[in-house]
């Protein structure tokens, strides 16, 4: 029997429920909403008649200067290696928590998700007398389910008050790295549970009245491997927020609070309006694409990331359904918030780089995802390497936008092939030569090469695909602080470019060997060792694949002293194996942390940017220039580019090349088969049994595959992977059993 409840009873019920919450878990109302808040009463008052755009422009110019200065100063003051090379951002938010402005440099993604924790604080803490929000308070957080990217990023934000009311928020986002996770540096393939991820902070008040809270500081320092770095960088964050707060207050003093409110809000609205116009002008096309993660970080697997894009009712729809289910004990899952971050990053880097860097770029964008997939995972799975989805997602969005814009009347960016998208470097942890405990990453992970342009070659290792002007470090500075020698710092290997009419940029090799530490180890977190990470565009080639290579059981410094020499070339070291006692291994780019001995070699290579257009259209003079610069091999010149040249002078013969290329074009036609024949031979109902395949198959996104089983996308169960060591033991035991059986059989005979 149902009973009707009166309004008073309803209210009482609500009060009871709201006052008896055991845990302030992430709030879906906040976390699944990326749109800007409606105009507040103050914003409406200021902007009702359009405000004063000229004055607001002047104010934003000043605030932009303040954000850029704060960024530069923070970059200099920060200790975390990622931050020192640009892996951070400073930003301003409106009182409601809408992202209003960001520093010119840095990783926009840090502030594309900061509205979530600000709104959380406003909703849950501001009126809670045990926490509250006051002038001089500064909050810190890192948990992705409260709005972070992944746990190694720690962001801080501070309210700006005017006459007792919050009028804005100032923020700094930063890749901190070490956070007490299972693996040094805050992330690694061996993280199998959210509870292996180290610190997991919802917004916490790290400072009150502009003073750091010693209890919180000490707790956080005590929870990670590098307490001094944690402390110094928290201090830096507080200082940055205070500096930005001062700038905002100066605007209020000079122009009045209304002008500040108008300047911030109008920036968001202008961007949203402009994005709407741009979406409406897109060609009426539906573009699909897919990329694959080639490992879970512990085992080989093909995890599908699928995207279909179109415009519907004035909204740009990004439909990620058909992507891989989440993996319960692997760290590559991404929350929905991460998908939104990747879209803003991709659009602001590669599609609309002229727009002010604010989150309103997503105002007229809608995402469609299936919960419990790697594009919209749940809180009970690890996410620390969710950037594997992020990197691939940026590439996928970029490719789709390139196709959409190829024939568009107005382009806001140049059409280029995909940027490389993996962090091909080493993370480290241990005790330095100065006796300090540390754990973090080498900054040359930023050196991802650019994709080929529609009219020129791509740039060699430069900046990651998620930010402009991130830097690649100097080896001398790394070596003076850390106990390793960069045996190879930067050398381009041959054929590490995406071939095409215009080639992608080359990535460099790198090799480190520990020297002078009592305890040291390395790990790696890259994908793309078995399946190319980056495709080409419009006929261009993708990047090659890259393993982590190791030479164990040697001390390279002793080998050199013995006269063994050292040739800085991974290809030579691994193929010719010049050190007799060495144990040479090439493994997946994701390598759990392992201790090393002095002088053991760890080697990897940055990947290549994608190529653009058909290799047979490449100017043969450019091909020969690549050969002279050591970027391509003779075999590539002859068999990929089909260039005829004089081997002594390295000068191409254009006429003979034209003829050879025409022959190849004819050969291509001869190798071709009718499309329908191809489809018949290629398309299958389900993924092949031998393939460790995860995700949708074909166009029916309701049907997903994982661990060899089929499931409905609205009924994805818990998918766990076996421990690779257990799997290996099982293989050995099976082999042992076989051998034992054979032995017994042989004995019987």
């Amino acid at each position: 029997m149902s009973m009707e409840t009166s309004k008073g009873e309803q209210s009482e019920l609500l009060r009871f429920l709201e006052s008896n919450i055991a845990f302030l878990a992430p709030d879906d109302d906040i976390m699944r909403d990326h749109h800007m808040a409606p105009r507040s009463a103050e914003e409406e008052k200021v902007l009702r008649d359009g405000g004063d755009p000229h004055l607001y422009g002047e104010i934003r110019r000043y605030l932009q200067g303040a954000l850029d200065d704060s960024f530069d100063i923070s970059e200099n003051m920060v200790v975390a290696p990622g931050g020192r090379f640009g892996d951070m951002t400073t930003a301003l938010f409106t009182a409601s928590g809408d992202h209003a402005m960001a520093s010119t440099r840095g990783v926009i993604g840090f502030c594309s998700c900061l509205h979530y924790p600000i709104r959380f604080v406003r909703k849950y803490y501001e009126d809670d007398p045990s926490v509250g929000a006051h002038e001089g308070d500064c909050f810190l957080f890192n948990d992705p389910f409260y709005g972070g990217l992944h746990t190694p990023d720690q962001s801080a934000f501070m309210p700006v008050y005017h006459e007792g009311t919050i009028v804005a928020w100032v923020c700094i986002g930063l890749h901190q790295g070490e956070d007490g996770a299972k693996e040094p540096g805050g992330m690694g393939p061996a993280i199998e549970s959210p509870f292996d991820e180290g610190l997991k902070m919802p917004p916490i008040k790290m400072a009150e009245s502009y003073r750091m809270r010693t209890d919180i500081l000490t707790f956080l320092q005590n929870s990670c491997r590098d307490p001094r770095m944690q402390g110094a960088d928290m201090k830096m964050r507080l200082n940055t927020c205070m500096r930005l707060e001062e700038a905002v207050k100066k605007v209020i003093a000079d122009y009045g609070v209304d002008a500040l409110i108008g300047a911030l809000r109008q920036n968001i609205e202008f961007v949203a309006d402009e994005v709407k116009r741009r979406i409406e002008a897109l060609p009426p096309a539906r573009v699909r694409g897919q990329l694959f993660l080639d490992s879970t970080m512990r085992e080989d697997a093909l995890l599908r990331l699928h995207l279909e894009t179109y415009v519907e009712n004035g909204k740009l729809i990004l439909d990620f359904r058909g992507s891989s289910p989440q993996i319960g004990n692997r760290p590559i899952n991404a929350p929905l918030t991460m998908m939104k971050v990747l879209i803003s990053m991709s659009f602001l880097c590669f599609v609309w780089p002229d727009l002010p860097r604010v989150n309103a770029v997503l105002e007229h964008v809608e995402l469609r995802t299936d919960p419990r997939t790697i594009t919209d995972c749940t809180r009970d799975v690890p996410t620390v390497l969710s950037m594997q989805v992020l990197f691939k997602g940026i590439t996928l969005t970029h490719i789709i936008a390139a196709k959409l814009y190829f024939s568009a009347r107005k382009q806001y960016a140049k059409i280029i092939a995909p940027w490389f998208n993996q962090t091909m470097t080493f993370l480290y942890g241990g005790i330095t030569q100065h006796n300090d405990h540390t754990g973090n990453l080498c900054a040359d992970l930023n050196g991802m090469p650019g994709g080929a342009h529609c009219d020129s070659d791509g740039e060699h290792s430069m900046t990651p695909n998620f930010a402009a002007m991130c830097d690649v470090g100097e080896s001398e500075l790394a070596e003076q602080d850390l106990p390793f020698v960069q045996m190879i710092s930067k050398i381009f290997p041959r054929d590490n470019v995406g071939f095409g009419k215009f080639r992608g940029g080359a990535g460099h090799q790198t090799s480190v060997a520990m020297r002078g530490s009592p305890l040291w180890g390395f790990s790696a977190i890259a994908g793309g060792s078995k399946f190319s990470s980056v495709p080409g565009l419009f006929g261009g080639y993708g990047s090659p694949t890259y393993p982590v290579c190791r030479v164990k059981n040697i001390n390279i410094f002793e080998e050199i002293e013995k006269g063994g020499g050292f040739t800085a070339d991974i290809e030579h070291i691994m193929n010719d194996q010049p050190y007799a006692e060495g144990i040479y291994t090439a493994s997946r780019g994701a390598m759990p942390y392992e201790l090393c001995k002095e002088g053991e070699l760890y080697m990897t290579s940055q990947g290549a940017g994608g190529g653009y257009g058909d290799v047979l259209d490449r100017d043969c003079g450019l091909v020969m220039k690549d050969l002279r610069e050591g970027l391509v091999s003779e075999r590539t010149v002859q068999e990929i580019y089909h260039v005829v040249y004089d081997e002594r002078s390295l000068v191409a013969d254009p006429e003979a090349t034209r003829q050879k290329r025409n022959e190849e074009r004819e050969a291509r036609k001869a190798r071709g088969i009718p499309f329908e024949t191809f489809i018949k031979s290629w398309v299958t109902e389900t993924p092949p049994n031998h393939l460790p395949y995860y995700g949708g198959w074909g166009s029916d996104h309701g049907r997903l595959f994982a661990n060899g089983a089929e499931m409905r996308s609205d009924d994805i169960g818990t998918i766990m992977m076996a421990d690779p060591r257990d799997a290996h033991i099982a293989q050995l035991e099976e082999r042992l059993a076989r051998l034992t059986h054979k032995e017994a059989s042989d004995a019987d005979q």
Binding site: R61, N76, K235, P353, P356, R357, E459, A468, V485
Partner: protein
């Protein structure tokens, strides 16, 4: 005092002569084919004013000093020699990769952000001219692997065969132990001895910079090598010209470190930006001799706005890793921030923000602003200045350029349509935004160094500085502007006051405070030994130039950082040796105080460790300074002057047009006071005094321009 100072710029060669109490300035067009012609012409004009012949002046001159943009221009135009690079094996792609950020260094923010159009500049050393040295040194300078000399000889021959005209040698950790670089140089000399025609310059990177950072150090050496031959020949021509005219003393070149040295003690890289740096040196001299306190130097030209800071407390602002053209290098260069803003900056409609935006595109000098009538079609800041009545159509730049207001109006039409405002309103908006942008740059620059505009005097010079100074100062909340004497040849004026100076540095990582062990440095001998060595090197440089040893002075500076922070702050010490731990504690305290002032009360982090990273010694000789004591004349009410004409002008913040008096600058005597609005045209530049500001002439083309009602400043 009998000094001649010359600043050879891209367009004009400026000359300043201090001659027994007289101060003369002159200008002539730069003659790029042979710089001596322009120099002679400028000097002849000055000599004529002095009433002396050129030979007589040169025969009796104490010194001839050059500041030149020759190196800067050659770099921009890529007119250097073919440089080969020998670098530690394993690092061959370091220079082509260029630190990642290399694609954006020297570009505008919008260009930096657009990855889809990102391209690195054409390399100064193409990949085929990079060869390797098989060897290795660790961060402490210990040899891991000796040089494979047979391999090296082959690499050297390969570079020469490929046409290298200069070779740069750069070894990893070469600052900790440069012996391998020197051995490589020996081997090159063995293979190509200096007495044969194939001999080429060899530059060791560790000699160019003593700082860690293999990319920036190598690039510094490459630029040095790239410019070496060209600069050598150009400077030799000038020196020969001086000798022919009767000047037999060594020529002195202005360095971007803020000092100067003889030609034989100058690296090519040290001359880059020496002209603007000489301007900042003049600001420093004005601060010191004129007792002005803090100064922000604002040099606004046609395409750029250079900002420099001079503070009364003696803190020196250097850039240790400046960007030169498109290249990040490491040399101690006087700090100067250059914004892409000037009279040629183009105004456009910002469709996203529904307002006007200025720059970063510039019409430059060719075609120049639309009103130059040389084909420029876009509205610029100078066009707005003309439309607002500030410029005389017939008398711009001393009458050398006739302006066309018709062209300016035409260029503004589409902007007016987009903004739906009339011409004058748009021109006012352009001026206000341009001034505001430069003010933001100026405030940011001060903020980044830990200052605000309170108690700062703005020094306004350059072609457009005195015209926009009121607008910029008002937006930056600065109350006092000094248009210095000789503002139109201010860099030459600065060069005339410089002293001989050499800077030597050594990277030396040692903990002043070891936070883990909780110990303060007590091993002081190694530091003192390095300081002695650096002083000896500096003294050697000066003695080589004939300086009397008793006049040599040294200034010790240490770069200090907290923990592993990237930022290193220079601390200038009052003594040149460390005698006890108390000296180290004093160093730590001084660093803390500087750091706190710059970054805020909560910023210092000594608990993470305090590291000494670089020791630096500036060795110099004091020379007689220019007399700058007469910057504060008593107002003289008895002196009157009449305007030569009136013009209708429009000012931001003033609704109605204002009939504005125009004064001939040559008629303004020291001590005269005038109330704005007014325009002064001393010949080469225009001084605009906006409503609410007053003008006090100090003579020699200089003036104080002060706000009548001081701004409220925080």
């Amino acid at each position: 005092m009998k000094r001649i100072a010359v600043d050879i710029g891209g367009t004009f060669t400026d000359c300043f002569v201090a001659w027994d109490g007289r101060r003369i300035h002159s200008k002539a067009l730069t003659t790029h084919g042979n710089l001596a012609f322009g120099f002679n012409q400028a000097l002849d004009i000055a000599c004529e004013k002095l009433g002396l012949g050129r030979e007589a002046v040169l025969a009796n001159a104490d010194s001839v000093r050059y500041a030149t943009t020759l190196g800067t221009n050659a770099l921009i135009e890529r007119k250097g020699c073919k440089v080969g690079l020998l670098i530690t094996h394993g690092f061959e792609s370091t220079v082509p990769i260029s630190r990642g950020r290399g694609y954006g260094d020297g570009l505008t923010q919008a260009e930096k952000l657009d990855l889809t159009r990102a391209h690195r500049p054409e390399p100064l050393v193409p990949i085929p001219l990079i060869a390797s040295i098989r060897h290795r040194i660790d961060y402490l300078g210990r040899v891991i692997s000796e040089i494979d000399e047979d391999h090296l000889r082959g690499q050297i021959r390969m570079l020469i065969d490929r046409g290298a005209e200069a070779i740069v040698v750069s070894t990893i950790n070469g600052t900790a132990n440069p012996s391998h670089e020197y051995r490589v140089r020996e081997i090159i000399r063995e293979e190509y001895p200096s007495d044969i025609l194939g001999s080429i310059p060899v530059i060791c990177a560790a000699d160019v910079s003593g700082r860690r950072g293999e990319y920036v150090r190598t690039t510094s050496a490459i630029i040095d090598g790239f410019l070496h031959t060209l600069m050598y020949h150009a400077m030799s021509e000038l020196q020969s010209n001086l000798r022919l005219s009767g000047y037999h003393k060594p020529m002195v070149l202005v360095h971007n470190s803020g000092g100067m040295a003889h030609l034989n003690s100058t690296d090519a890289l040290q001359t880059v930006h020496s002209g603007p740096v000489a301007g900042i040196h003049a600001a420093e001299a004005i601060e010191k001799r004129g007792g002005l306190g803090n100064i922000v130097a604002a040099d606004m030209g046609g395409t750029s706005f250079d900002i420099g800071i001079v503070v009364g407390d003696g803190v020196k602002h250097y850039d240790f890793t400046p960007v030169i053209d498109r290249w990040l290098v490491t040399i101690p260069m006087v700090h100067m921030n250059t914004l892409g803003a000037g009279g040629g900056s183009i105004a456009r409609f910002d469709v996203i923000s529904n307002t006007v935006a200025i720059g970063p595109d510039s019409a430059g000098s060719d075609p120049g602003p639309a009103c130059f009538n040389r084909g420029g079609r876009y509205p610029t800041v100078t066009d707005a200045d003309l439309l607002l009545g500030y410029l005389d159509e017939m008398n711009y730049a001393g009458g050398s350029i006739k302006l066309s207001s018709r062209r300016a109006k035409s260029a503004f039409k589409s902007l007016c349509d987009a903004l739906n405002l009339d011409l004058i309103e748009v021109a006012k908006l352009v001026k206000r935004r341009a001034d505001g942008n430069m003010a933001v740059g100026l405030v940011s620059e001060l903020g980044a160094k830990g200052y605000n505009t309170t108690n700062f005097t703005m020094l306004a010079y350059g072609g457009n500085g005195p015209m926009h100074c009121c607008g910029i100062a008002a937006a930056a909340k600065i109350d006092r502007v000094l248009v210095p004497p000789f503002s139109s040849v201010f860099s030459a004026f600065g060069a005339a006051g410089m002293t001989q100076l050499h800077i030597h540095e050594r990277a030396h990582l040692t903990p002043a405070y070891n936070a883990r062990a909780r110990t303060v440095l007590d091993e002081l001998q190694p530091l003192n030994e390095i300081i002695s060595d650096l002083e000896e090197r500096g003294a050697r440089d000066l003695l080589r130039q004939g300086v009397d040893p008793v006049r040599v002075r040294h200034r010790l500076e240490l770069d200090i950082r907290y923990g592993s922070q990237a930022i290193e702050t220079a601390v200038v010490l009052s003594k040149n040796r460390f005698d006890s731990q108390s000296d180290i504690l004093a160093l730590i305290a001084q660093h803390r105080s500087d750091y706190e002032r710059r970054f805020g009360r909560n910023a210092p982090a000594p608990e993470t460790g305090v590291w000494i990273t670089v020791l630096r010694v500036a060795s110099f000789v004091e020379s007689e300074p220019l007399d700058l004591s007469a910057l504060h004349p008593e107002p003289d009410q008895t002196k009157k002057v009449q305007p030569v004409s009136h013009r209708i002008c429009h000012f931001p913040g003033v609704d109605d047009p204002v009939e504005t008096p125009i004064y001939d600058g040559r008629a303004l005597e020291r001590g005269m006071r005038l109330e704005g609005p007014l325009i002064v045209n001393p010949g080469e530049t225009t001084h605009l005094v906006e409503p609410g500001w007053s003008f006090d002439s100090i003579g020699e083309g200089g003036a104080w321009i002060t706000r009548n009602t001081p701004a409220e400043n925080s």
